[in-house]
Symmetry: C2
Subunit: 162 residues, 2 copies
Amino acid sequence: MVARIREKHDGALAGRMDIRVLLRLLSCSMTIEKRLRRRFIDQFDTTLPRFDVLAALERQPEGVTMSDLSRALLVSNGNVTALVRQLESDGYVSSRAAPDDRRRSIVALTERGRDHFADLATAHHQWIANMFAGMSPNDLTALYGLLATLKASIGAEHEESA
Amino acid sequence: MVARIREKHDGALAGRMDIRVLLRLLSCSMTIEKRLRRRFIDQFDTTLPRFDVLAALERQPEGVTMSDLSRALLVSNGNVTALVRQLESDGYVSSRAAPDDRRRSIVALTERGRDHFADLATAHHQWIANMFAGMSPNDLTALYGLLATLKASIGAEHEESA
DNA sequence: ACCATTTGCTTTAGGCCTAAAGCAAATGGA
DNA sequence: TCCATTTGCTTTAGGCCTAAAGCAAATGGT
């Protein structure tokens, strides 16, 4: 009913453009994430969050603290604890107390973890490449730029509420 | 190490563009979702998934089946059961057996549910508008189009694996 | 009419996630 | 030195989500 009235007013642009963009954005993210999640389980018996932890560690061969990890992954501190424990018991990750501050844990990939991650990353890269195969380099660059604009816009909204 | 080598090869385009776009896409989605989630809890003591159910029902005044809902929301069937039960016990949603097929539940908003949703939707619209305030109409249109391209690309990848 | 199959939903086990409370180590002012 | 505060991490309670098993109603071939 409401939708029908709106159509008469804005024609093809029925519905608010910002919400339409948001719904499409979330739909793309969800679909990609679900697909990656399923393939990680089916083909490697692991999960996307575990992969994310390994990927974050691979970028920091020196090791990082739990807090660093939770900031990098945008997940809560308690959550990181559980993920690292799992990876540790699988032998993919090592965890030692920082020499200067015994509260801090320095987490790093083990040799075995690096090998494991290399396998996962190869498949992951291939899956992404396939999912983005329909986008030209120009499309990718343009999308990258617009997402930067959006990210800035979102950030600005956060600031102004202070 | 690997990253440093790659930089020498592709310069500013270091790293694969598809992955960079993906990371930025996921980052935007995550940030928006987290913020909406938090505001729904803080200001209305409800959750984003519950809002999503109400929104889906609002679009179908005649009511829909559980399976319709789970398809529309891209979540599993069992999950919808729990969400609808909650909303039902809050009096926002009614559920009756379909006259022609007693397995099927027809779920619809109650009067109270419509009122409640109207409040939520007003706030939701405002939040979205603020988060997208930094994007021009041209930006929105361009982003909308590129996301359509991406969605199609993702869909095509799914087909070819058959 | 019978019954195997399919379809719609619910239940269960288990993983991810958060907020908030709790614990231990570090810090810094009195 | 003492101790209140801060900081880093873990634990707990609880919500979302899925896959898979289970149950009941509908369907269709015989």
